[in-house]
């Protein structure tokens, strides 16, 4: 870095927002495929989508929305100097992320127990549109799951920064950017949930 201390919060957040656009476009590719295949196989999408469990999806939506609230409050807490509260809220967010993944584990396990997973013999007996549906379901929720894990890791990393004092009440842009990333993970789920769990019921 340059010799003098250069702090540009607007620049740092600007860069983060640009990065979030790229994430949206990454998922955008999957949403395009979803749209095209839904238009091609509407009946089969409904019959396959109807097999997803709304309660798993709905529960996870609740978990993620709550976690986003925790992150948002944690930033305000840090800015007001309530470091322990902030750490507690971030810990709660990470716990939500873990809960989400556990929930996902059971949801996927149930499907896999029924023999429905990419490349399985059972899957290949289904109608073409149903195969596409389950493949894209696994890919989209899988990629989202990876983002949940990355987001949780980023939050834990931020907690370490807060503990070591690198992030504090006067220098909190790292926490804000980590929070922005977490909101993105939440936001993408808010599109996945209705598309896969609600629309097709």
């Amino acid at each position: 870095m340059s010799g003098h201390v250069h702090r540009d919060y607007t620049g740092a957040k600007f860069g983060m927002w640009l990065f979030l656009y790229t994430e949206v476009l990454l998922f955008g590719g999957l949403f395009i495929l979803y749209a095209v295949y839904l238009a091609r196989y509407p009946q089969e999408f409904v019959s396959a989508g109807g097999q997803l469990n709304v309660w798993f999806g709905g529960g996870n939506t609740l978990v993620l929305l709550t976690s986003s609230l925790f992150v948002a409050v944690s930033i305000t807490a840090l800015r007001r100097g309530a470091v322990r509260l902030c750490q507690g809220l971030l810990g709660a967010t990470v716990a939500c992320a873990a809960l989400f993944m556990v929930n996902k584990f059971f949801e996927w396990s149930a499907k896999i127990d029924h023999g429905i997973y990419p490349g399985s013999a059972q899957l290949k007996k289904l109608a073409p549109g149903e195969m596409v549906f389950f493949n894209i379901y696994y890919l989209t929720t899988g990629l989202h799951g990876i983002h949940v894990v990355i987001g949780a890791a980023v939050l834990i990393w931020t907690m370490v920064f807060i503990k070591t004092g690198r992030v504090h009440a006067d220098d909190w842009v790292i926490l804000e950017n980590a929070g922005l990333y977490w909101h993105l993970v939440d936001l993408i789920w808010i599109f996945i949930f209705p598309l896969y769990y609600l629309l097709l019921h």
Partner: protein, 541 residues
């Protein structure tokens, strides 16, 4: 070399100041100039490898049937030539190397907005490149799909496509991070007085490019990720046996890869826009029009991807819409060409090597662009689709365009970065050799394509022998010219005559700092009082 004293560290600018000893001072440096040079020499090295592969392809095509390699090797060689040239040379070429070296100085900044992220980008680039090379020697052998990785073949071939897609994903990530860094830098780190309309056109072109990098590259990321998933866990989203559609792969691929050709060429246009005014001693004609056309190309170029797919089985409506949109992109490109020519009109033209390369860009890119219209018109395209005409076309735009601009940038800015001048006579001879070899090679491709020779074929009917041999002769002349040029440049940066801050008489900020620039670029933050081509106010004229 004479036995002169080595210059004091202070005179060597940023070369004299490293945070770590030896090579670590480079590969762990966050200085944008050091990172730019890391990119530059890696890119040049990969370019040389790509050229060698290209020469091998031409050698194989010297005669029908087997000449020097079997068909499978030939498939691997042209795939590798494409992957290296596209992902390791042309896409990062000008933005990552010269963007890093020059753009912050042009803005009056001390570095980019996120210097450590910048270093990470380089590491991702070199890791991706390393993986791409690893893919050649591991798994089922070098990929043989062509650089476009079209399914279903790419999903089924036993060659090591999986690792190659990982490499492309990582290279894409590198490109995205560079784009984010540049957009943020241009928004946030302009010096006092550096208004938007005083930004040099090179930096403006990087701005437009960086937006495409940010908005298009993620789509490539998901596309190759899906191909990877299809190969590794059998998700089959592009597999008709599982209800998928291979055309969707082509759509997603070109949603990135067509805008990517503007990632490749826009910075080249920026280089030319910066060079032409300096060597004609006239302000850039139509500065605002060039700025707007860069942004217009970035925007319109994102809407034309399916013109690569006229023969892939789209609806006629889609073909017509995409054909129309394709013609629209020609307008901003033509605006640039006319503005460059108008800049030269009545200028005091100095035919130095940078301008020679820039002029060959204008000529060759115009030819490449016009032949692009032949391909953009659906009716003509169905006849020449997948022939050597296409190969000739994109080499005119990519090599005649971006490649020439890259050489122009090296001849223009390397004296700035190293503080030493190459031999201009040799540079001019090298330019002439490259130009002649280029024309023989690629014009023969266009003609043989018009006659019906398909691209990517290992063998051809004897009727095409003459033109193929002519092309191969051209490739040798081109190769000699390139060797001459690189040897001259390398001798120049090592032992050329030292130059002052402003060897060409430029008016933008990079010419106001010493050559080589100091680590922090500016002693004190500059205040900009005139435009980048205002030679009178800069005291050049």
């Amino acid at each position: 070399m004479t036995s002169e004293q080595p210059p004091a560290p202070a005179d060597r600018g940023f070369f004299g100041e490293a945070r770590y000893p030896g090579i670590f001072g480079w590969i762990f440096s966050t200085d944008h100039k050091r990172i730019g040079l890391l990119y530059l020499w890696c890119i040049v090295a990969f370019f040389c490898v790509g050229v060698l592969l290209g020469l091998l392809i031409r050698l194989e095509l010297f005669a029908p049937g087997r000449t020097i390699m079997d068909a499978q090797t030939y498939n691997a060689v042209f795939t590798l030539h494409g992957v290296i040239m596209i992902f390791l040379f042309i896409i990062p070429g000008i933005p990552a190397a010269f963007g890093n070296l020059i753009m912050p100085i042009q803005l009056g900044a001390r570095d980019v907005a996120f210097p450590r992220l910048n270093l990470l980008s380089w590491w991702l680039y070199i890791s991706g490149a390393g993986l791409a090379v690893t893919a050649l020697f591991t798994g089922g052998g070098p990929p043989d799909t062509g650089w476009t990785f079209y399914v279903p073949f790419s999903a089924q071939t036993s060659t090591n496509v999986s690792l190659a897609t990982v490499a492309v994903f990582i290279l894409g990530f590198s490109s995205i991070l560079t784009g984010i860094n540049f957009v943020t830098t241009i928004h946030r780190l302009r010096a006092e007085g550096m208004t938007w309309m005083r930004i040099p056109l090179f930096t403006w072109s990087l701005y437009a490019t960086a937006w495409i990098q940010i908005l298009a590259t993620p789509v490539l990321g998901i596309t190759v990720a899906l191909l990877f998933a299809e190969r590794v866990i059998g998700t089959g989203l592009f597999d008709p046996a599982q209800g998928g559609d291979p055309i969707m792969f082509q759509h997603l691929f070109w949603i990135y890869s067509h805008p990517a050709v503007y990632i490749m060429v826009l910075p080249g246009m920026g280089v030319v826009s910066d060079i032409v005014p300096v060597f004609c001693r006239k302000p850039a004609f139509g500065y605002k029009a060039i700025v707007v056309s860069s942004l217009a190309i970035a925007f319109a170029g994102s809407l034309v991807w399916a013109h690569h797919m006229y023969t892939s089985g789209m609806s006629d409506t889609a073909v017509m819409v995409f054909s129309f949109l394709t013609f629209i992109v020609a307008i901003p490109s033509a605006i640039k060409v006319f503005n460059w020519l108008a800049t030269m009109y009545q200028g005091s033209i100095l035919l130095d090597p940078p301008l020679l390369y820039a002029l060959s860009f204008i000529l060759l890119f115009t030819i490449g662009g016009l032949t692009g219209l032949v391909l953009g018109a659906a009716a003509a395209d169905v006849h020449v689709h997948d022939t050597y005409f296409v190969v000739g076309h994109f080499h005119f735009t990519m090599f005649g365009g971006t490649g020439m601009a890259f050489f122009a940038a090296m001849h223009y800015w390397l004296p700035k970065i190293y503080g030493r001048m190459y031999d201009k006579t040799v540079a001019t001879v090298a330019w002439g050799t490259i130009f002649i070899g280029f024309c023989i090679l690629y014009i023969s491709m266009k003609v043989v394509g018009m006659q019906g020779m398909p691209r990517r074929y290992w063998d051809y009917v004897p009727e095409f022998t003459g033109l193929n041999q002519l092309g191969t002769f051209g490739s040798w002349i081109l190769g000699i010219g390139l060797v001459l040029m690189f040897v001259n440049l390398i001798r120049g940066v090592r032992s050329g005559t030292p130059v002052g801050a402003n060897p060409w008489g430029g008016a933008s900020l990079e010419w106001q700092v010493p050559s080589p620039p100091p680590t922090e670029n500016f002693e004190e933050d500059p205040v900009v009082t005139h435009g980048p081509y205002d030679f009178k106010k800069a005291g050049i004229l």
